[in-house]
């Protein structure tokens, strides 16, 4: 299969380059690079679980011995199990909606585990795996999807910003945060701080994302843009957002872009560590395109049978991010069946715990509607609240008679 990359002709290339305009098929091949992600895809573990040496990135995962790899495996299994449980709970009417991450575990755990305590992550709405890696209790995510809450964790403690549903908004917010790290002198050496910001391939069309690139670039913000290219923005394929492989866009803004195999947890960890390291030392920003695939619907309200081909899904199942780590561990003797069984058991218990929590989640009291609209209170709202409560009281006392 051709996995040739197509790049824009350089300005000095002259008419010949213009004549070499690619056909639509080549463009699409360049974007998706067929099923491989392209020649420039950074990969450390193949889908078959073979370790590929990388002169540039091996040093970033030197410390990942069998035990650490078992840890990454466990992370991914737990996160996937939680994701499947939440999906099932939505089907059973316990959650209003769920946003599956199936297939994106490696991108999220790899990048999430590359972060340090002082780093900050700005998620979109699918980053349950990153949340887990940041130490957020996954129970605290569920209120959003059960519609009892708009958010629910301690952002500062976990270095994990609230979910953002409006596509692209968080990218500028992250740029601002990273500018703040810079302005406070928190970058420049090994101990520097960095920010990472997550968004999808669809989001790259939004003005906010482009503006985020510009801001981060001109202020040298320590910001890693982490685009999970899962091939689809609801029903729209990546080709509908760009004529150029997304990572190549970075160049136009003046910072490096790199495409990593988003189903390879080791490569995601290595590349994220490298990028964060650049940022810590004041060489940011960096764009990472994690080339992956959304193996489930966009959300539980979506119907992917209307737009995507099932053989595409079958093809990606062969590249499952968890299976390849398992194969690598098993082959190299890094883990035995007892280990895999124990992780599965732990994952089942983890899911059961989430389920029980969800079923017993308390409903917010009605006057929660009015709480915290302002930091400083508001007399108009205060009287609306009182009126509302006495209106509700009217029903209660009517019921007593």
């Amino acid at each position: 299969m051709p996995s040739e990359q197509w790049t824009h002709p350089e300005p000095g290339d002259g008419p010949a380059a213009v004549a070499a305009q690619p056909s639509p098929e080549q463009v699409i091949a360049g974007l998706r690079a067929t099923s491989e992600g392209g020649a420039e895809l950074t990969q450390l573990l193949t889908p078959e679980g073979e370790r590929v040496p990388s002169p540039q990135f091996d040093k970033y995962v030197d410390d990942i011995d069998a035990e650490a790899l078992r840890g990454l495996y466990r992370d991914m299994v737990l996160v996937r199990r939680a994701d499947r449980e939440a999906n099932a709970m939505q089907r059973q009417g316990q959650l209003g909606i769920w946003v599956p991450l199936l297939g994106q575990e490696a991108a999220q755990i790899g990048s999430g585990r590359a972060l340090r305590a002082n780093d900050m992550a700005f998620p979109s709405y699918r980053e349950h795996g990153v949340a887990f890696a940041r130490g957020v209790d996954m129970k605290d995510l569920l209120g959003i999807f059960r519609c009892t809450d708009h958010s629910g964790w301690d952002y500062q403690r976990h270095g994990f910003h609230p979910y953002t549903i409006v596509i692209g908004n968080q990218v500028l917010n992250a740029a601002g945060y990273a500018m703040g790290q810079k302005f406070e002198g928190k970058v420049g050496d090994d101990d520097g701080e960095a920010t990472i910001c997550y968004f999808g391939d669809g989001a790259t069309s939004q003005g906010d994302v482009h503006e985020g690139f510009v801001w981060a670039a001109v202020y040298d913000a320590p910001l890693v843009f982490f685009c999970q290219n899962n091939q689809w923005a609801i029903s729209e394929p990546t080709e509908r957002q760009s004529r150029l492989p997304l990572y190549q866009r970075a160049r136009g803004y003046g910072f490096p872009g790199i495409r990593v195999d988003g189903n390879d947890v080791l490569a995601c960890l290595a590349v994220s560590r490298w990028a964060l390291d650049e940022c810590r030392h004041g060489n940011g920003p960096v764009l990472i395109e994690a080339f992956t695939y959304r193996m489930d619907a966009h959300t539980t309200t979506d119907d992917p049978t209307r737009y995507r081909l099932s053989d595409e899904l079958e093809e990606w199942k062969l590249k499952d991010p968890i299976e390849r780590v398992r194969a690598f561990l098993a082959r190299g003797g890094g883990a035995d069946q007892a280990f895999f069984d124990s992780v599965q058991e732990e994952a089942d218990a983890f899911a059961a715990d989430l389920r029980e929590y969800t079923f017993n989640m308390p409903e917010p009291p009605p006057d929660r509607i009015f709480s915290n609209v302002y930091a400083e209170g508001n007399p108009v709202l205060e009287s609306q609240r009182e009126e509302f409560l006495s209106y509700l009281d009217g029903f209660a006392s009517a019921g007593e008679h």
């Binding site: 409006v166 692209g168 989001a203 069309s205 003005g207 609801i234 729209e236 917010p364």
Partner: protein, 330 residues
């Protein structure tokens, strides 16, 4: 020729769009997921298949882009119909709407027309997460140069979308998303009939005790309240505004002169809103006919709450009846 069909609001919109596209090759549909998927609510279902990818455009994911390019296409003679997926996502396009779409005709003293329709599913009651249940229509009604309309039933959906597309002015077309597929609101429509005009307010139920004016999803709430009030011996007149900017308050004034009481109903927060405007204008025009102050039944002045609380946030028929009692107690 007649072709009677019993249609939901969603299906009526779909057929209205189809007819507009058949009649005028310059009509384009553009938005996120409007093609193969037929839109997240399936309102554009099947249109790309029949009209092709150049007339039904699955656009890149960017609202400023959707609206800004629609402005350019309109300059070039097209009549774009943009779909915004959920009202909460219109704001990246707000700049293009307020700075360009609404003002080009004025700035060029009529040389550039802006026959652009922006379809916006709006309102709550679907149990969704943030940004999927809001009612931002007042923000648009406040912008000079835009027309803002809202539909509440399938007949208006079918004819209204066609009238909007034919208009040379930019129109924000608010659709009550929770009613799209309501079987109870199915209406018999002669889809081959002669176009009807609908951008004026309309008395949808006659009554004498008090008037309730509403639009979009709230019209059903008002009608339900009127049915419940009847059991208590009260007769409510219900008016569907349909046009939010410019407001057509003639029928409201007339009604208030008859009943002496007005309840303005909307899901949107109340401060500086359409219901504020209605209250102000009615007290100005009908001061001597009013038996009680104009009362408003609205969402609260808070962001839309988590959906588990929306039954409390959204005005329901009990809140309307309570307001009627307060008005009558005056």
């Amino acid at each position: 020729m007649t072709d009677l069909q019993k249609l939901t609001i969603g299906k009526a919109l779909n057929l209205g769009l189809r007819r507009a596209m058949e009649e005028d090759p310059k009509v384009l549909i553009m938005g996120e997921d409007v093609g193969k998927l037929g839109g997240v609510f399936r309102i554009t279902d099947g249109l790309q298949k029949d009209f092709g990818e150049q007339r039904v455009l699955d656009t890149p994911l960017a609202e400023s882009g959707i609206i800004g390019t629609a402005v350019g296409l309109a300059v070039r003679g097209f009549r774009p119909v943009c779909e915004i997926q959920f009202e909460g996502f219109i704001f990246p396009g707000f700049d293009q709407i307020s700075s360009q779409l609404a003002k080009l005709h004025y700035r060029t003293q009529g040389k550039i027309k802006m026959p652009v329709v922006i379809r916006v599913p709006f309102g709550g009651g679907i149990g969704a997460v943030e940004h999927h249940s809001e009612s931002p229509e007042s923000l648009f009604a406040h912008i000079p140069g835009l027309k803002v309309v809202s539909i509440s039933n399938a007949v208006d959906a079918y004819w209204g979308i066609q009238e909007a597309i034919k208009s040379d002015d930019p129109i924000l077309f608010f659709e009550p998303k929770r009613l799209y597929h309501s079987g109870a609101l199915r209406a018999e429509i002669d889809v081959a009939g002669t176009p009807q005009r609908m951008f004026s307010s309309q008395v949808v139920r006659e009554g004498t005790t008090a008037t309730v004016v509403a639009y979009g999803p709230s019209v059903k709430v008002a009608l339900d309240a009127a049915a419940a009030a009847e059991d208590e011996g009260k007769s409510l007149e219900v008016i569907d505004l349909r046009t939010l900017s410019p407001l057509d308050l003639g029928p409201v004034f007339e009604s208030v002169r008859k009943t002496g009481r007005l309840i303005a109903l909307s899901e949107a927060p109340s401060e500086s809103s359409l219901t504020s405007e209605i209250a102000a204008r009615v007290q100005q025009e009908c001061f001597y006919s009013l038996e009680a102050p104009v009362l408003r039944v609205t969402g609260f002045d808070t962001p839309y709450p988590p959906a588990k609380l929306e039954e409390h946030y959204l005005p329901d028929l009990d809140r309307v009846l309570h307001a009627i009692d307060r008005s009558l107690a005056w």
